[in-house]
């Protein structure tokens, strides 16, 4: 099996999870209601745990460095997350819509990966999809309630959706190993994932009384998978590594 291709896949998934986990965790203590602080903190724990598990596979199976080193000691350019996850939490409307768009893609991605020819990832996928199912339920339930709540909440949901969608399409940016991954049966591919995702979220968005934004190809925000990031990733990584940098080599 192509090790480089697998590593690339593990990193982009791990980086997505780590960075969105970081963002979700920022809601702990300041959410719109205590129950939402709890929900976002729960999801943050799951995501950070998924990142750790994916890096762990790279460590154990591919002889890569340990998960802490992978997460805390890479440069911004070496990260392969999509730009959607990097954006600041903004207001709750954006964070909720991002969570909705991202987690639907995550759920389908992990469902596809349960059939992966790369067994360690297939095994992990079986476990993780069970967790993300609840993230999706949370997102759908809040999206619907807020879209059908007041005039303001409806307008906010639509505006957040319009804003986030060009970034969300960036989730499916192909890496240079896309063809290898498909050919070797490691992953069904971003195109297939995007099709399934569009079908799924369109149904929820429409049922919520919102309009699916049309996004021209030229507006899609690509780059993350190749190491080109928004201006928000570097400060995020600086913050994440603030403590470890004070005493490199120390155990924490």
């Amino acid at each position: 099996m192509n090790k480089e291709a697998i590593k690339e896949l593990l990193y982009k998934m791990g980086d997505d999870a780590l960075i969105i986990g970081h963002r979700n965790s920022e809601w702990t203590g300041i959410g719109p209601l205590l129950e939402e602080d709890l929900a976002f903190a729960s999801m943050a724990q799951d995501k950070v745990g998924h990142a750790q598990a994916l890096y762990q596979i790279s460590h154990e199976v591919l002889g890569d460095k340990d998960p802490d080193t992978i997460a805390f000691q890479r440069t911004e350019k070496e990260f392969k997350c999509c730009q959607l996850v990097e954006l600041p939490i903004g207001e709750y409307d954006f964070s909720l819509v991002r969570h909705f768009l991202f987690d639907h893609a995550e759920l389908i991605r992990y469902e596809m990966l349960t059939a992966s020819s790369f067994k360690p990832l297939a095994q992990l996928a079986k476990k993780v999809k069970g967790e993300i199912k609840y993230h999706v339920m949370h997102a759908d339930s809040f999206l619907k309630q807020l879209a059908k709540g007041t005039e303001e909440s409806h307008a906010r949901m639509q505006a957040a959706l319009n804003f986030a969608m060009p970034f969300a399409y960036g989730i499916f940016e192909k890496s240079e190993y896309e063809d290898v991954l498909i050919k070797e049966g490691i992953f069904g591919g971003e195109e297939m994932l995007r099709e399934k995702w569009l079908e799924k979220i369109s149904a929820v968005v429409t049922a919520a009384g919102l309009t699916m934004p049309q996004v021209a190809d030229s507006k899609i925000v690509y780059g993350g998978r190749k190491g080109y990031h928004s201006k928000f990733l570097e400060p995020l990584l600086d913050e994440m590594t603030e403590v470890t940098r004070t005493d490199p080599g120390a155990e924490w």
């Binding site: 970081h22 965790s25 920022e26 702990t28 203590g29 300041i30 959410g31 719109p32 209601l33 205590l34 129950e35 939402e36 602080d37 709890l38 903190a41 729960s42 943050a44 724990q45 950070v48 745990g49 990142a51 750790q52 998960p67 802490d68 997460a71 805390f72 207001e91 709750y92 309630q145 807020l146 709540g149 007041t150 303001e152 909440s153 906010r156 995020l236 913050e239 994440m240 603030e242 403590v243 470890t244 004070t246 005493d247 080599g249 120390a250 155990e251 924490w252």
Partner: protein, 328 residues
């Protein structure tokens, strides 16, 4: 995490006057004497309701405000293990807030009213959260010692007379025991780590010593808690007794890893009572009165959370829903 409740002179005076029906009062007190719990909806003296509500409400506020200083370190936690533990820990604190607001609601005040009183300064929260968490070592000190202090207080209070509060406290103590473990683990790691890590921990310990002494409230000689609160099992141990228990349990655990406490007079006398230097009770008063290093910031964050997201709560509310006091 929560310290202790104490009364102003005025409040203590009011407590001792009662215009309650003597028969009902006698039955109520007899029930408490028998060690039975008072449940929502049962008859209770007005002052009992008021003091309990005040105490549970303060406790709930302390949990959610307490999530703030630690919460700011989640994104900076130095590895996966610490990060996951800290998110879970801070999440627990918010969850405790949620449980306690529910317990307080059984006494007839809504969560919204309580949060409003937090924001307008009418109701208080534990003083300890008005101090900043400056470094990662603060997270070790808070996780280990502030949680330990809270456990001392909450374990005692869980033997109180009001059913919903006791049940919430039992669950809370169970979770806090894990917080203490992760805090202690972090504390020991830093204490036995590099010179930089040890120095950082010692510096944090020096700053937290006084707030920790303050944590249990003013000394008994200045504290106006009435016999009545003890009789009604709203308060179960005096501030000094709890402080002494805490020092007894934890001073040695701090010192055994080579960390010192910044008080040359701290020692245990022959009667088993811990003596310490005057911890400046005026500072305690100033900080509880709103003039601490972080009071303003904490309330501003809370206000932001409430104001910026009013639209979410409004959208979720069903106009036909009526508020009902929950049973427990």
């Amino acid at each position: 995490m929560y310290g202790n409740t104490h009364l102003t002179e005025e409040e203590a005076k009011r407590l001792n006057v009662t215009d309650e029906d003597p028969e009902k009062l006698a039955a109520f007190e007899a029930k408490i004497d028998r060690g039975e719990k008072i449940e929502p909806g049962e008859w209770m003296p007005k002052e009992y309701r008021k003091q309990l509500l005040r105490m549970i409400e303060q406790h709930a506020h302390s949990e959610i405000v307490g999530a703030l200083p630690e919460g700011t370190w989640i994104t900076r936690a130095p590895n996966f293990r610490r990060k996951l533990a800290l998110i879970a820990k801070v999440q627990d604190e918010v969850g405790h807030g949620q449980m306690l607001y529910s317990a307080a609601e059984t006494l007839g005040k809504t969560r919204e009213e309580m949060l409003n009183d937090l924001m307008n300064g009418k109701s208080k929260y534990s003083n300890v959260f008005n101090y900043p968490a400056n470094t990662w070592a603060d997270i070790a000190v808070i996780g280990f010692l502030v949680d330990a202090a809270a456990i001392v207080n909450q374990t005692i209070n869980s033997k109180g007379s009001y059913g919903p509060y006791c049940r919430a406290l039992e669950r809370i103590c169970y979770e806090e025991a894990f917080h203490l473990k992760q805090g202690h683990d972090n504390f020991v790691y830093l204490a036995t780590g590099t010179p930089h890590q040890r120095a950082m921990l010692q510096e944090a310990m020096n700053r937290w010593y006084r707030p920790l002494i303050h944590f249990f409230g003013p000394p008994d000689r200045n504290s106006k808690h009435s016999e009545k609160l003890m009789k009604w099992k709203v308060k179960l141990a005096s501030n000094d007794a709890m402080r002494n228990q805490f020092l007894d349990m934890y001073v040695s655990k701090i010192q055994e890893v080579g960390i010192t406490l910044p008080d040359p007079n701290l020692h245990k006398n022959a009667d088993g009572i811990w003596e310490f230097s005057d911890p400046d009770w005026d500072e305690f008063k100033r900080v509880s009165g709103g003039d601490g290093p972080c009071n303003k910031e904490r309330l501003e964050v809370r206000r932001y959370a409430e104001m910026a997201h009013r639209w979410v709560r409004e959208a979720l509310m069903n106009p036909s829903d009526k508020y009902k006091i929950p049973l427990a």
